[in-house]
């Protein structure tokens, strides 16, 4: 049974259909990437999961229950737009959110102290938030999401606004949570993070699901590409859709950028080259990046580097 299931969920704001008939399931222990450009419906979907807003139609199931605050003790949430109570101390802030998630005061403070220690903020336990640097405040915010050791961690654009050090810290925490058996769902429009972290991906465009699957399955959606060095034009080989001459590699040999017909594997082409005595000096498969897949699926207008 999935940790999180959405079935035909739609959300309409006045005349705007923000989420359109969205269905997916997140299995326990996976790191699930929720990808899409700005306005794709990622934040709206996550807010519905947290019961901050209600869907217009469809069904949502979180940890076996409908969305609601009853799930708060099992969920950690880091919103895209972050802030803290400026006059509260770092530890009080973490403990407060721990208490709101059903923890006892002692547990919340103990866990808060451990997290601050792990994030290198042990000396700032009693500092008020307005006295912390931006990077420190970001760590405190992350700690508020992790304080209850959530079974389901939901992160909305977690890397936006983080400095490189905190980006690394967040990636480590996501891996740590996943290793500990928690499920992590995070939205992002930065594909490199998703490539590094996600077990499964969901691509969203204009509120609709465009793709759901593993990274390899996503790459398979794009026609394979080869970089070859050959004497002749490879486009005569069956299964090659096009071949672009990239100039001379060495005397008598040219470099070719080859695009295969969808459904044809690079191994098939290599086999045919051998069978047809097609001379080759180099045969390299080019892996499509997630960004390429994203551009391919949703168009360049919604894609961001």
């Amino acid at each position: 049974m999935g940790v999180l299931t959405l079935e035909r969920v739609s959300k309409r704001f006045d005349h705007v259909l923000a989420v359109n008939d969205l269905s997916f399931t997140v299995e326990p222990g996976t790191v699930f990437g929720f990808l899409g450009g700005n306005g794709a419906g990622k934040t709206t979907s996550l807010r519905m999961v947290l019961d901050i807003i209600r869907p217009t139609s469809g069904r949502i199931d979180v940890l076996g229950r409908p969305p609601g605050r009853v799930n708060a003790p099992d969920i950690g949430f880091l919103p895209e737009e972050r802030g803290l109570y400026r006059q509260m101390t770092a530890l009080d802030t973490i403990a407060y959110f721990g208490r709101l998630k059903g923890m006892t005061p002692a547990d919340a403070r103990r866990e808060g102290t451990d997290l601050l220690d792990r994030f290198g903020l042990a000396a700032n336990t009693k500092s008020t938030v307005d006295k912390l640097s931006k990077g420190m405040a970001q760590k405190v915010q992350l700690a508020t999401a992790l304080v209850n050791r959530p079974r389901l961690l939901i992160l909305d654009e977690p890397f936006s606004g983080l400095d490189p050090v905190n980006q690394g810290l967040l990636e480590d925490e996501i891996r740590r949570m996943s290793a500990a058996g928690s499920t992590v769902v995070f939205s992002t429009h930065v594909m490199q993070h998703a490539e590094r972290l996600c077990d499964r991906l969901l691509l969203l465009a204009q509120g609709r699901k465009k793709f759901e699957g593993t990274l390899d399955e996503a790459r398979a959606e794009l026609p394979a590409r080869l970089s070859v060095v050959a004497k002749d034009d490879p486009s005569r080989i069956a299964g090659v859709e096009s071949a672009e001459d990239r100039g001379e590699a060495e005397k008598g040999w040219r470099r070719w950028d080859v695009r295969l017909t969808p459904g044809i594997a690079p191994g098939d082409i290599l086999e045919r080259c051998v069978a047809e005595h097609f001379p080759l000096r180099r045969f390299e498969q080019l892996h499509a990046s997630l960004h390429d897949v994203f551009v391919h699926m949703v168009g360049s207008a919604e894609a961001r580097p």
């Binding site: 807010r47 901050i52 919103p79 972050r82 109570y85 400026r86 407060y96 959110f97």
Partner: protein, 496 residues
Amino acid sequence: MKNILLVAAREFRQIAGMRSFWLTLLILPLCFAAGPLAQRFIDKDEPDQVMVIDRTGGGEARAVQQRFEIDRGRDVLTELSRYVQRHHLEAADPSALWAQHDRWYSDADVARFAASGGLKPAQAKIALVKQKQTPDFEASKPDYEFVPVPASLASVPDAGLDNALKPILKPAGKDAKAVDYVVLVPASFGSSPLVRLWANRQPSSSFVATLQDVLTRDLRTRFLATQGVSPAAAQSATAIAPALAISTPPPGGGARESMLVRSILPLAAAYLLMMSLMLSGSWMLQGTVEERSNKLLETVLACVSPEELMYGKLLGTAGVGIFMIAVWIGCGIFAAYATQGAIADMIRPALDPLSSPGTIMAMIYFFIVGYVTIAILFLAIGSISDSMRDAQGYLMPVMLLILLPITFLMQAVLGGNNGGMMMEVLTWVPIWTPFAVLARLGLGIPAWEVIATGIILAVFTTVEVALLGRLFRASLLAQGQRPSLAEMVSRIRSAS
């Protein structure tokens, strides 16, 4: 419920952590402390010096001085009587003049008091019955002190006194003591009514009136004597005066004053409600705006529902308001008991309304419901404002709408006005009902009116909380420009 309490506790701590909270909280007690101190500075330390140059032989000067001494004796006797009444010390000597309170002390009474030894023997008797913690009686300082005429002035003719008195009225040396009043009774007094008075400032009207009274009597006695009336009969004729039997409600001067004293507590409740609401409400508003502008609402809303957040905020702010009021009332009671003065005299009748359980219940009900009625307006403003500047735009009209009529209301009650169209309107329009009913409780408001306005207020507050609660919920995560009225109505509808 647990989340509501957690939000309320955080809200309370946040406000209690503000410097402005403690400053505001301490202003009232400081005023209480500063009051008696200021009184000490305002009170005159020294009595006014009076010199009477009597060129008629000395009889007029003696008569004037005697008059002032009798008045002074009456003041001491009255103060002593009040002291005895306040501390229930009549047992010291039930037949003594100072143990009889509801009366005006005549000149004869004052003379009798002086003849019995004056203050000292009275204090000795009182000391036998008074308890240890009861403070000793201290008579106020006399207003006037008579000084002898210097020998150097005796030979100065009347016309030369203007110059001769200058160094006496305004002495050059810093430490030299000025004479405040110099009265010249010329040798011709009797045949001529002229008497001259020099003063080193605007003379006090009571001094002039007393002086005039003494000299007028003397002129009348002289006149009657010229008409063939015997000097004794003439003297008696001028002393004829009605004997005033005075009945007073315990301390105060009459029915209206009594009503005003009874209104102190309800009026104070209305005033404190207004003060604590305005202060804690604006702090709550600040907190809500901070949550919106700091973008932390989404984190909070993932853990608590908008309703829990709203009720928690209301509860926390109400806690702040009630804490402030408790501190102020505590300081007031402490000041009243510590000073044992006029405030203590007022407190007893002011507490009269508390003898009726209905009045107590009405005060508590209108105070708490009134708090919620107004506080939720602040909360709604906070939820639709991205910054304090935004909030000010909504806040000013709301504040004016609430405060201006209340200012008129308080003035009306202080003026003893318990009726009229305005008072009725303020009583029946729910946003002003709590203030109007609280303020009128002391003056007397029909029970049916209290119950009816209470029901209307409850219905209004329920509807208000429901509608503004929707606005709060719908506005929490909304962004963009300040919503128009139409937009607010649309949010209230969409959140249903």
